[in-house]
């Protein structure tokens, strides 16, 4: 055998052994990601795409003010954030729906803290080229559309809400998320709240067994499909609907008024529930004349016991800032700043953080 052949096959074998280690390594969860070193500290997090613009800007500014600290955030979606947090591959997660008790039970690394971090709304967008006025919609009818019971735009029940509007004889195509998503959860809770048929049927979850429609990946995927398919109707985060110049509905709220989504009307909805927690977090369809009904908080996921006192202090300081002063950054990026009661709530939860084995973080 020639020398080159020997070298090539040895190199090949070495590569294989490396790949083998990686393959086996996949099944064992990696240890905590926040590793303090003498010179610098890196904090990694993953989760909600909704939080990503806010987190990116806030962490950049925080890093500038705190040399030696770097915060990396991977926007892989709420479900992915929960998964990574459960496996302990990230120091914090972010999700648009708090973890359920069974999800918390499957988390390695001790008790979990869940902290509200920002607030947003969802618009229901539609693609009807011929209709120039903003259409009105109620939750009950929206539920029947997403159940596949109402299939045409000129259905008498849609026309009944929009007198004087010429609705086309066009098929409705429902567009939903194909990936598990907090956006889906919040939208489905509005449908379940207003449509008993929806509550009895598909229900409320991050992954729904959709009775009809086509699926898109992420908010961008849903927005793209609504753009592409005439007669389509889909739910997206408010920022997507505003920036992409979609038509979106005025939705009927609990008081019976038709409300256009905006930062002010989402804030009005959230203001009616001053206390939220991981087990009582829903703020869809709150009372109030000017409340827009589809809104929700996004949540940070943290281990109550940090891997070291130093990383615990760093995480605590970062998130006290993020849920406090940094809310003005959120406000500049089309999020609704956290109401003051919710900020106080967040800080109270963050104060429960400890070091390893429950030692106090304070000096």
């Amino acid at each position: 055998m020639s020398r080159t052949k020997v070298l090539a096959s040895s190199a090949g074998s070495l590569l294989c052994v490396g790949a083998l280690l990686v393959t086996f390594g996949l099944s064992s969860p990696a240890a905590g990601a926040a590793r303090p070193s003498s010179a610098s500290l890196a904090i990694t997090g993953a989760g909600s795409t909704f939080d990503a613009p806010f987190f990116t800007k806030a962490f950049y500014e925080y890093g500038n003010a705190h040399p030696g600290l770097r915060v990396d955030y991977a926007a892989i979606g709420s479900g992915g954030g929960i998964q990574q947090f459960q496996q302990g591959t990230v120091a914090f997660g972010a999700t648009d729906v708090p973890m359920s008790s069974s999800e918390v039970a499957h988390t390695s690394g001790g008790p979990t803290l869940q902290v509200p971090v920002d607030l947003g709304g969802e618009a229901v967008a539609y693609n009807l080229a011929g209709v120039k006025v903003r259409l009105k919609m109620s939750g009950t009818i929206l539920g029947d559309i997403f159940l596949g019971k109402i299939r045409q735009w000129n259905d008498p029940r849609i026309a009944g809400l929009n007198p004087g509007v010429r609705l086309p004889d066009e098929a409705i195509t429902v567009v939903h998320r194909s990936d598990g998503s907090g956006t889906t959860y919040i939208f489905a809770s509005y449908l379940a709240d207003t449509s008993s048929a929806w509550a009895r049927g598909p229900g409320v979850s991050k992954s729904i067994a959709w009775p009809t429609g086509v699926g898109g990946q992420g908010n961008a995927g849903v927005a793209g499909l609504v753009h592409e398919i005439p007669g389509a109707i889909g739910y997206v985060e408010l920022a997507y609907a505003v920036e992409d110049h979609f038509s979106f509905f005025s939705l009927q709220n609990r008081a019976g008024n038709f409300i256009t989504p905006s930062l002010a009307t989402v804030a009005a909805d959230a203001a009616h529930k001053s206390k939220v927690s991981a087990t009582n977090f829903g703020i869809v369809d709150e009372p109030g004349a000017n409340s827009y009904p589809i809104a929700g908080y996004s949540w940070l996921l943290l281990h109550q016991r940090a891997t070291s006192v130093k990383s615990g202090q760093a995480l605590q300081a970062l998130f006290v800032w993020l849920t406090g002063q940094a809310q003005s950054i959120a406000g500049s990026l089309n999020y609704v700043p956290l109401p003051s009661g919710v900020r106080a709530e967040a800080h109270a939860v963050l104060a429960e953080m400890t070091g390893p084995g429950g030692v106090a973080l304070a000096d």
């Binding site: 055998m1 052949k5 020997v6 096959s9 040895s10 090949g12 074998s13 294989c16 052994v17 790949a19 083998l20 393959t23 086996f24 996949l26 099944s27 892989i76 979606g77 709420s78 479900g79 992915g80 929960i82 998964q83 459960q86 069974s102 999800e103 098929a171 195509t173 194909s178 990936d179 598990g180 998503s181 229900g203 979850s205 991050k206 992954s207 729904i208 067994a209 959709w210 429609g213 086509v214 699926g215 898109g216 990946q217 793209g224 499909l225 592409e228 398919i229 007669g231």
Partner: protein, 303 residues
């Protein structure tokens, strides 16, 4: 230790494959234990209610692949016959290079093309034409979405066409020249010599080419996820959105937090691997059989 032999390299590769099979198997085991055979035969996919059955995805993969093959086999065969029989060598090598370049275009580019160009084309031209030909019920029923089973199959067929053409061209070229020349000497036209002499001689190889292309179509993920519509239900119409084994894994795996959800997706991965291995092994055996056959014939002719 570094004086490794090729045999060691092969053994390590074998161990690697075994490791993948074992880790997939252990990943799928909880779902198999919980759902039993229902995991394979169930048609409901509802992670929240913990009711997970993979049959719709298996059927979706079979439907998209079968439709793609209906397009790819005749067109690919035509292209290969044209390249082998009717083009001068210089042009043939240019055209062959172009086809091989098509095979090298990344999957996501085909997906983007499918959304930007394919979907409007299918929605505004192809689907109305099919409605005119087949009516508006049955396999042509439902609204014109653009995206769905039909577009998914068309994008797949574009992606696997180069494989079909390149392999068919090679197996046709492997038919001994004296046979084709003999047919021509007996007064056959070039077309007759190709279709009645060369093609029958290479038929198992052509079948192998189609099977290789099919293997690619089964495993294709990114492009199909972008254009299939991602709806886990049986597609009763060409225009309906559907889901395949690959697309459901790609859409749902990163966010699978419900009980058994991730495990059931790993099971679909195992199923996909089994189907691909069977199809690819079949293709290899067929191609090898033809090539060996043609070598034997050449030796017989030479002696």
């Amino acid at each position: 230790m570094l004086r490794a032999s090729p045999r060691l390299a092969v053994m390590v590769f074998g161990a690697l494959l075994l490791a993948i099979v074992i880790s997939l198997g252990t990943g799928a085991a909880p779902a198999i234990g919980h759902f039993g055979t229902g995991l394979l035969t169930g048609t409901v996919w509802d992670p929240q209610a913990v009711r997970l059955g993979a049959l719709t995805f298996l059927v979706g993969t079979i439907e998209t692949t079968a439709l793609a093959m209906v397009v790819v086999v005749p067109i690919g065969l035509g292209c290969a016959l044209f390249l082998v029989g009717f083009v001068r060598p210089r042009l043939r090598s240019m055209l062959s290079t172009a086809i091989e370049l098509m095979a090298g275009v990344p999957s996501v580019v085909y997906g983007l093309w499918g959304l930007q160009v394919g979907a409007p084309f299918v929605r505004t031209i192809l689907e109305p034409a099919l409605h005119a030909a087949l009516g508006s019920t049955g396999i042509a029923g439902g609204p014109d979405l653009g995206i769905g089973l039909l577009l998914g199959s068309l994008v797949l067929s574009m992606m696997v066409l180069p494989t079909m053409v390149a392999v068919t061209r090679d197996v046709l070229a492997a038919v001994p020249d004296d046979r084709v020349e003999g047919a021509l000497a007996l007064g056959a036209t070039r077309w007759q010599a190709l279709t009645r002499v060369a093609l029958p001689a290479a038929r198992t190889g052509v079948l192998g080419a189609a099977t290789l292309a099919m293997g690619r179509a089964i495993g294709e993920t990114v492009a199909i996820t972008m254009v299939i519509g991602n709806n886990p239900a049986f597609a009763h119409s060409l225009f309906a959105p559907a889901d395949t084994m690959t697309s459901v894994i790609a859409s749902e795996f990163t966010a699978a937090t419900e009980p058994f959800h991730a495990s059931a997706l790993v099971f679909i991965g195992v199923l996909l691997m089994l189907v691909s291995v069977i199809v690819n092994a079949g293709a290899r055996l067929l191609v090898r059989a033809t090539l060996r056959g043609s070598l034997v014939r050449q030796r017989v002719a030479a002696s």
